[in-house]
């Protein structure tokens, strides 16, 4: 159970914030041929089966690799073989070598997005979490204090989880594409702009 909790926390902290990027890369690469949601869920399944995550120095890269391996397997099962394994190299080249600083920045931007979402969680949802996790109340006590049924409390929590996951993964899809220039490269400009 401890191991599960440790891995789940690791996924929450190190993996979820990168899902949006992994998704958009899968879409860009295999959008037409692959069910992206299936691939993502399968990738989480594989991550959850890890015995330990201590050896993973670069979680974002690991997630990208796992998702890619899933995609390759899915395509392979359908008989699209060589094409996929070759592109693996391309994938690894691109992702694994991206500077850590970039990945951290990416993750931090995701955190910022989630932080902005806090206000959109229902009050019931927030209070329920505080009562259970901070004050240590039981499910029944929490529901009584909030004046609703236990299942209503759970519904609020379910909606909350969905909002969080949605914010991390799907919202703002257009922006993630817009961040890239036509070469697929993020470019920063420094120095004084010349106005023409």
């Amino acid at each position: 159970m401890d191991r599960d909790r440790q891995i789940l926390s690791w996924i929450a902290r190190e993996i979820l914030p990168h899902e949006r990027r992994v998704r958009s890369r899968l879409v860009r690469k295999w959008g037409d041929t692959l069910d992206i949601d299936d691939a993502i869920q399968e990738a989480y399944y594989r991550l959850a089966r890890l015995e330990t995550v201590d050896h993973i120095e670069n979680p974002a890269g690991y997630f990208h690799r796992t998702a890619h391996a899933v995609a390759v397997d899915m395509l392979r099962r359908r008989g699209v073989i060589n094409f996929a394994s070759m592109n693996e190299n391309e994938w690894l080249n691109v992702r694994d070598e991206e500077p850590l600083a970039d990945q951290l920045l990416e993750a931090k931007q995701e955190f910022a997005r989630v932080n902005g979402l806090l206000g959109r969680l229902s009050d019931t949802c927030r209070r329920a979490i505080e009562m259970r996790r901070v004050e240590g109340l039981s499910q029944r006590e929490t529901a009584e204090r909030l004046g609703v049924s236990e299942s209503v409390v759970r519904n609020h929590l379910v909606r909350g989880v969905q909002k969080i996951l949605h914010a991390l993964t799907e919202a703002d899809e257009a922006k993630s594409v817009g961040e890239q220039d036509h070469l697929g490269t993020k470019v920063e400009y420094f120095g004084k702009r010349r106005s023409h």
Binding site: I11, V94, P99, N115, R126, I129, K186, Y189, F190
Partner: protein, 325 residues
């Protein structure tokens, strides 16, 4: 592959189970139903894990602000690998403000001119996204991008000194016109010279400098050294012999193969690398290959070939032999 159920429905079901498990009172029959549901499909298990992680994330978003202190908020976009693992969500949320400041830098290509107050007269100090620090002359303009594992700076005008964040795996290459200077962690300055040239001065460490696509003839500059190259003045005649279109410097170049015979791909690698790839069995050469590869890494390419053709490779002194298993 056929989906057995709408994915959103799976995600919602997963969220319900995750909440029931963490916040409800799971009865034995609930537990059994959950097990059955999980066993039915890998995707259910994946979605369940994802929902559990989402729940943890949500709890941290809700609970963490209590623990925040303003002094936590001093992170400005760059962190060392050392403190990376210890980052908790609470901390990250604390620095969300800082993160949004940093985000301005990355918003759009070409759109966000990023200014810091001048530190000294005529000089502007700025931190690049990889953690390197650039000191820009008043007339300096530069672009920074990372792609293909390379940190690329293009100096458009003026001069700049770079204190390169040490990261061996990601070469830091400054381009001034047609002159390139590469380091992995050092201090050096680059100044535009002529139309397409550059002057490189090294303060610490060493830097590899070359012009155009003549990386094999690069000069290694050590601390205290300086070099001015202006290819515009003396474009060598050999340029005519180069295959067109000319490749960018090997370290930046990639070879793209779109379903061509392996023997043709190998020929292209062999043309530009001293390490030659030898195909021991002609049948291997007839197989076709798709992919994008670093032009200067024949070994990685060879490894890919062995994967795709189910063969093996043997490293020799100046060659790589690919043969049947």
């Amino acid at each position: 592959m056929v989906s057995v159920g709408p994915t959103e429905a799976i995600a919602e079901e997963a969220a319900r189970w995750a909440v029931l498990d963490a916040y409800g009172d799971m009865l034995p029959e609930d537990r059994k139903a959950l097990d059955v549901w999980l066993a039915a499909d890998h995707r259910h298990q994946g979605a369940y894990v994802r929902a559990q992680a989402g729940l943890i994330a949500m709890e941290q978003v809700v609970i963490a602000p209590r623990a925040l202190r303003p002094s936590d908020n001093d992170n400005d976009g760059h962190m060392s690998a050392g403190n990376r693992r210890g980052i908790a969500w609470a901390f990250s949320i604390a620095s969300a403000l800082a993160a949004s400041l940093v985000a301005v830098m990355t918003v759009g290509p070409w759109s966000a001119a990023f200014h810091r107050p001048a530190q000294e007269e005529g000089l502007q100090v700025t931190t690049l996204k990889d953690g390197s620090v650039a000191t820009l002359s008043d007339d300096a303009r530069l672009l920074f991008a990372t792609a293909d594992g390379i940190r690329k700076v293009t100096l458009l005008s003026g001069s700049a000194t770079f204190k390169v964040f040490k990261d061996k795996a990601h070469p830091f290459v400054v381009r001034s016109g047609d002159v390139y200077a590469q380091a992995t962690g050092t201090v050096y300055s680059v100044e535009r010279a002529g139309q397409v040239g550059g002057r490189v001065r090294v303060t610490e460490g060493s830097v590899l400098v070359w012009a155009g696509d003549e990386r094999e003839q690069a000069v290694l500059l050590k601390a205290g050294g300086s070099l001015t190259l202006d290819p515009g003045l003396q474009r060598p005649a050999v340029a005519n012999l180069k295959p067109a279109p000319a490749l960018p410097p090997p370290d930046l170049a990639r070879l793209s193969f779109d379903n061509i015979p392996i023997k043709a791909a190998v020929a292209r690698f062999n043309r530009i690398n001293s390490t030659q790839i030898i195909i021991a069995d002609p049948a291997i050469g007839e197989l076709r290959i798709v992919g994008l590869f670093r032009a200067d890494d024949p070994e990685r390419f060879a490894r890919a070939v062995t994967e795709v053709s189910d063969t093996k490779m043997e490293m020799q002194k100046n060659s790589i032999v690919i043969k049947m298993k």
